[in-house]
């Protein structure tokens, strides 16, 4: 029983991890290659979720909705890069933080104006609604398995793109030494737009997949953004591999902490104390982890430069 329970919680952790990874992959590249602090990454996650609702209602098809929403987020991401972020590359980080915080407010109000403030309903096709019995006595929602599957597939795809293609080479080079890449005649501007656009699409993918589980509402992106920053700090800024490992670590540690910390503490300290300390400590766990990683490896687990 306990082994099955542990396995299920591990799966829950991986599922949270891959969602974080999709967000973190784009953010870490933008931060690593463009040296740009983008607080509005959560807004792109929200845009993906909203576009998914609109597109799947419009087309009446779930896969078609995904395709349209992804394309839409890509376009929104590139437009944001070209229109709003370009003038900010030469400014310092504080200006970037301020400007992208403004973008958060802008996007939150924009979706509220278009779709209203109420949470939107998101449906799933019937083939994703059920649950399967993975192990005897352990039933698991099909949709969550789908998320894990898609997330790991995207992870593989990214690994291939980053390590095996010319674009990936430029991305890696950009993360290590931007000035040199530009000096060698690479159109760094275009590279920025492409990287930002695809990062946005990945965030959109995370958002549209999160829609049916969480609630699609203005400000939904900020709730996950903090965890994503923890992931890229742990993984190492600019490293996709770091983002994957960091996301899985954060997802699993957070989930297992919430599930098992209180009963474990109960063995060490008195039950009422564990009752109070358990939930508090569980919600702090990933930040404690980040502090430890920062103390031991200040550049993260997989530093890119």
């Amino acid at each position: 029983m306990t082994a099955i329970l542990f396995f299920e919680q591990l799966l829950n952790g991986v599922q949270l991890g891959v969602t974080l990874f999709l967000m973190a992959a784009g953010l870490t590249l933008v931060l690593g290659i463009m040296n740009f602090v983008n607080l509005a990454h959560g807004s792109l996650y929200m845009v993906g979720a909203y576009l998914m609702v609109a597109a799947s209602q419009w087309t009446g098809s779930w896969p078609l909705g995904i395709a349209l929403a992804l394309a839409g987020t890509l376009v929104v991401g590139m437009a944001v890069e070209v229109l709003a972020l370009r003038p900010l590359y030469t400014r310092d980080h504080l200006d970037q933080v301020l400007a992208t915080f403004g973008l958060i407010l802008f996007f939150n109000e924009l979706v509220a104006v278009i779709w209203g403030r109420a949470s939107l309903y998101t449906s799933l096709p019937s083939y994703l609604q059920g649950h399967v019995e993975l192990l005897p006595g352990s039933i698991y929602p099909v949709y969550r398995l789908t998320i894990i599957g898609i997330g790991l597939f995207i992870g593989l795809l990214l690994w291939y793109v980053v390590t095996r293609t010319r674009l990936g080479m430029l991305i890696r080079a950009g993360a290590s030494n931007r000035t040199m890449v530009a000096a060698l005649g690479v159109n760094i501007r275009l590279l920025y737009t492409v990287v930002f656009g695809f990062g946005a699409a990945l965030a959109g993918l995370a958002g549209l997949m999160a829609g049916p589980i969480y609630s699609v509402q203005p400000g939904m992106g900020e709730l996950i953004l903090i965890q994503v920053f923890v992931v890229i700090v742990i993984g190492g800024i600019g490293s996709v591999r770091g983002a994957l490992v960091g996301a899985l670590i954060v997802g699993i540690v957070d989930t297992l902490g919430r599930a098992f910390l209180k009963p474990l503490l109960g063995h060490v300290i008195s039950a009422p104390a564990a009752e109070a300390a358990g939930p508090a400590l569980a919600s702090m766990l990933i930040y404690l982890l980040m502090a430890v990683v920062l103390a031991l490896k200040p550049a993260g687990l997989f530093p890119s430069r």
């Binding site: 829950n12 109420a118 929602p141 589980i213 609630s215």
Partner: protein, 395 residues
């Protein structure tokens, strides 16, 4: 402007002032009501329900409150106590409102009530149910058209106790209201509680908690997850396939502000509340019917209480014949609760909180959203909150 006319104006003003001082309770021509709620952010949807209900009340009253031409000034507290106080002060000083109403959140209410009553104005709370204001800190000038926070969980506890359901698993967010809800629940539920889980406020994913819960195999789950947390928890509970095996009982989790986002995932859900849109009273039918016609969606209890806030003020202003500034007479008139309540007639307890019935509600198939709340049975008759004995008011 020439000099003579300016001095004439000053004389007129002085005259008006002295007249005002001589007869402080002059019947006025207009009444200004300050209504504070949350209009921005994710919780803005509750504010929309409340504002629309106030507008409907004004329409039902022909634009007049107690026979006076009415104007409502709306303010947004952004769910923050300090902003709430600032908005209230602006309304009292700048807009010169006669009476205040609204407020969703207990912490905002705790901050705003002293500011309003300190300025000698009356506050009609239309949602927040902070227990200090029902008990030791009750106030002559503070009335509530809602309930005290833990009355709904008390009702749910009573229902589960009466139905002899044992082995209940309890979940709530880890903050004051979460703990208060569980305290209220345990005041009436005396059976075995398998485990009490407090999750992080604002948490999105409950799969880990649901997995733990399933392993313990309880007979029922009691939860309190307001707003977006509720949408997420109920949906994920539904997706986990537990709905048919372990019934889910909640308070302030599934209502008409969240049902449009939860839809069929809510079917089978139980809630405890003092009112539901299907309540069979003439006043409620009129409110719900006209609301749906005017705004195209189903009103929630948040809206109902706000609609009532205006009706309550209307009844009192009528009783004092428009002398709104006669606070003593106003308080005496408000205490009578002399209006057609959507929940049926009720009396105010000594602490200015309604003594009212509580019901078990169930989400069933139907309605525009695919699911709607229906009253299953009455749990409490004329239920008083647990704090009124600490209130020293005498009347």
């Amino acid at each position: 402007m020439s000099k003579p006319s300016r001095s004439a104006l000053a004389i007129a003003a002085a005259l008006a002032l002295s007249l005002g001082a001589a007869t402080p309770a002059l019947a006025q021509q207009k009444i200004k009501i300050g209504f504070i709620t949350t209009m921005s952010g994710p919780q803005g949807i509750i504010g929309k329900h409340m504002k629309d209900s106030v507008e409907l009340a004004l329409e039902h009253l022909g634009g007049k409150v107690g026979g006076l031409q009415a104007e409502v000034v709306y303010g947004d507290d952004q769910t923050k106590p300090d902003v709430g106080v600032q908005v209230a002060n602006d309304m009292i000083k700048r807009d010169q409102v006669d009476i205040m109403a609204g407020i969703i959140w207990s912490n905002v209410m705790m901050a705003v009530v002293p500011a309003v009553t300190g300025a000698g104005k009356i506050m009609i709370g239309t949602n927040a149910g902070a227990s200090p204001l029902a008990g030791a800190q009750c106030n002559e000038l503070y009335f509530s058209t809602s309930w005290n926070n833990d009355q709904s969980p008390e009702a749910m506890g009573k229902f589960l106790q009466d139905s002899k359901v044992n082995d209940v698993y309890v979940l709530a967010p880890n903050y004051q209201a979460g703990k208060d809800m569980v305290t209220g629940f345990k005041r009436y539920f005396k059976g075995n509680i398998v485990e009490e889980i407090y999750t992080k406020l604002g948490q999105q994913d409950y799969q880990a908690e649901i997995t733990q819960l399933r392993a313990k195999n309880p007979k029922a789950v009691f939860a309190f997850y307001p707003g977006g947390m509720g949408i997420q928890f109920v949906r994920q509970y539904h997706q986990s396939g537990l709905r048919d095996r372990i019934p889910l009982y909640t308070v302030f989790t599934v209502d008409e502000t969240t049902l449009p986002a939860i839809k069929e995932a809510a079917i089978g859900q139980y809630e405890a509340r003092f009112w539901s849109p299907d309540m069979d009273t003439p006043a409620s039918k009129k409110y719900v019917g006209d609301f749906r016609k005017k705004f195209g969606y189903t009103p929630s209890f948040y809206g109902a209480q706000s609609y009532e806030g205006i009706l309550l003020i209307d009844s009192a202003v009528k009783a004092v014949k428009g002398k709104v500034s006669d606070t003593k007479a106003m308080v005496a008139a408000l205490r009578k609760a002399d209006y057609d309540s959507i929940r049926g007639r009720y009396k105010f307890n000594v602490n200015h909180h309604p003594i009212q019935d509580f019901y078990l509600l169930k989400a069933v198939k139907g309605g525009k959203d695919g699911a709607e709340m229906k009253i299953e049975k009455k749990i409490f008759d004329d239920h008083k909150d647990a704090y009124y004995k600490d209130c020293k008011m005498k009347w």
